[in-house]
Amino acid sequence: MFCLSEMEDTVRVPPDLLKLPLEVAIKKVLQKLLLNKVLSIGLCVTIYDIKSAEGGFVLPGDGPATYKVRFRIVVFRPFVGEVIAARFKESDSNGLRLTLGFFEDIYVPAPLIPRPNRCEPDPYNRSQMRWVWIFEEQEYIIDHSCQINFRVENISYPPVPTEQAEDAKPFAPMVITGTIDDDGLGPVSWWEGCSERNNEDDDT
């Protein structure tokens, strides 16, 4: 979920930004430095506010002014055991991939999909496989029709690769492994019938 985190860092404001009000200049530098990056506290979404900025000294031989800044940022920080609402992105024979829009590296591997199940080629999309849960002789398809609730099982932070093959998948600094094998998890339509809220959503 989202957390408000207070941090302190040394920020160098380049000379071309010094004509702006200090707060605006520091925010610009911080945004460039932190936005979209995965810190060890989570994925930084936005700078919330700047609590204090001290210093402003120009070090010898260096153009930018250096400030010691205390600020707060909003981070997306999942916890193991947390239930999160996501949408279906794609699936293959290894399992499902879910997305939150701003974060797409959520994988539900085959062992964590409720059993009994089966995997079959998707009739609507030939390159994909589709997962179907079989419960009491009823078949429940996992696809993009509804919001999918999953529980975080594991979060991993793969190390930055030094070299990458040209056709390798883009590097993901944070990968969430989730499960939908429990009461209340999986597509919400399995538990209550797609609610009005889902019906009026457009597919993005």
């Binding site: 979920m1 989202f2 957390c3 408000l4 985190s5 941090m7 945004q31 430095l33 932190l34 936005l35 979209n36 990056k37 995965v38 810190l39 060890s40 506290i41 994925l43 930084c44 979404v45 936005t46 919330y48 909003v74 997306f76 920080r77 916890f79 193991v80 055991g81 947390e82 239930v83 609402a85 939150l100 829009g101 701003f102 974060f103 797409e104 590296d105 591997p109 062992p111 964590l112 919001q147 609730n149 975080v152 099982e153 594991n154 979060i155 991993s156 932070y157 190390p159 930055v160 883009p170 590097f171 993901a172 600094p173 944070m174 492994t177 429990d182 009461d183 209340g184 959503d201 993005t204």
Partner: protein
């Protein structure tokens, strides 16, 4: 999308450890990394001698027990406010905001149950009266379970030993939340 995420090293005291079900002896750093490559299913009850982060048992790093967790509806208000500020400055704010900001705004707007700032404040107030940690407060505020059973399934730590949350207290809390929704 994930190609625009880069890793930035920030010093904190959090330790990210994975302890696997069948090993109890401490693994060497290299072996630990290799184990991480293979998929293992972690069960909340697998206790190890080392610290393990697990929200189901409320074993979360100390910083996060005290840190301010935000519900989706609160983040929605924050991001909308920022977006409006940008709108005042330039005519095309969408150009200026990053993709993560834009998609996060879409996500929280879609998945927040309460839109009105007063309603959001009331929700936080109601949930704060019940001796919940920040994390539990936010999960309940985000998912809005309807019955006490659902609430305990989503937040198992409500019923761990020593915590005085009876089913009636939980039901009352959930009722208050649904009243806020109705009169929003």
């Amino acid at each position: 999308m994930s190609s625009c995420l880069n890793f930035y090293n920030c010093s904190t005291s959090l330790r990210w450890l994975n302890k696997f079900l069948f090993t109890s002896a401490p693994l060497l750093e290299k072996e630990r990394r290799e184990e991480k490559e293979k998929l293992r299913i972690r069960f909340p009850s697998a206790m190890s001698g080392e610290e393990e982060e697990n929200a189901a048992e409320l074993k979360i790093g100390d910083e996060f027990l005290k840190a301010k967790c935000l519900m989706n509806c609160e983040v929605s208000l924050i991001l909308e406010h920022k977006y409006e500020q940008l709108q005042q400055v330039s005519e095309d704010p969408m150009n200026q905001v990053s993709q993560v900001f834009e998609k996060s705004l879409q996500y929280v707007k879609r998945f927040s149950r309460y839109k009105n700032p007063d309603a959001v404040r009331q929700v936080r107030e109601i949930l704060s009266r019940h001796q919940l940690t920040e994390f539990e407060l936010c999960v309940l505020g985000n998912l809005c379970p309807e019955t006490a059973e659902e609430a305990v399934a989503m937040v198992p730590s409500l019923k761990t030993k020593g915590r005085a949350h009876s089913d009636e207290a939980i039901e009352k809390m959930l009722n208050d939340l649904s009243l806020v929704k109705r009169f929003e």
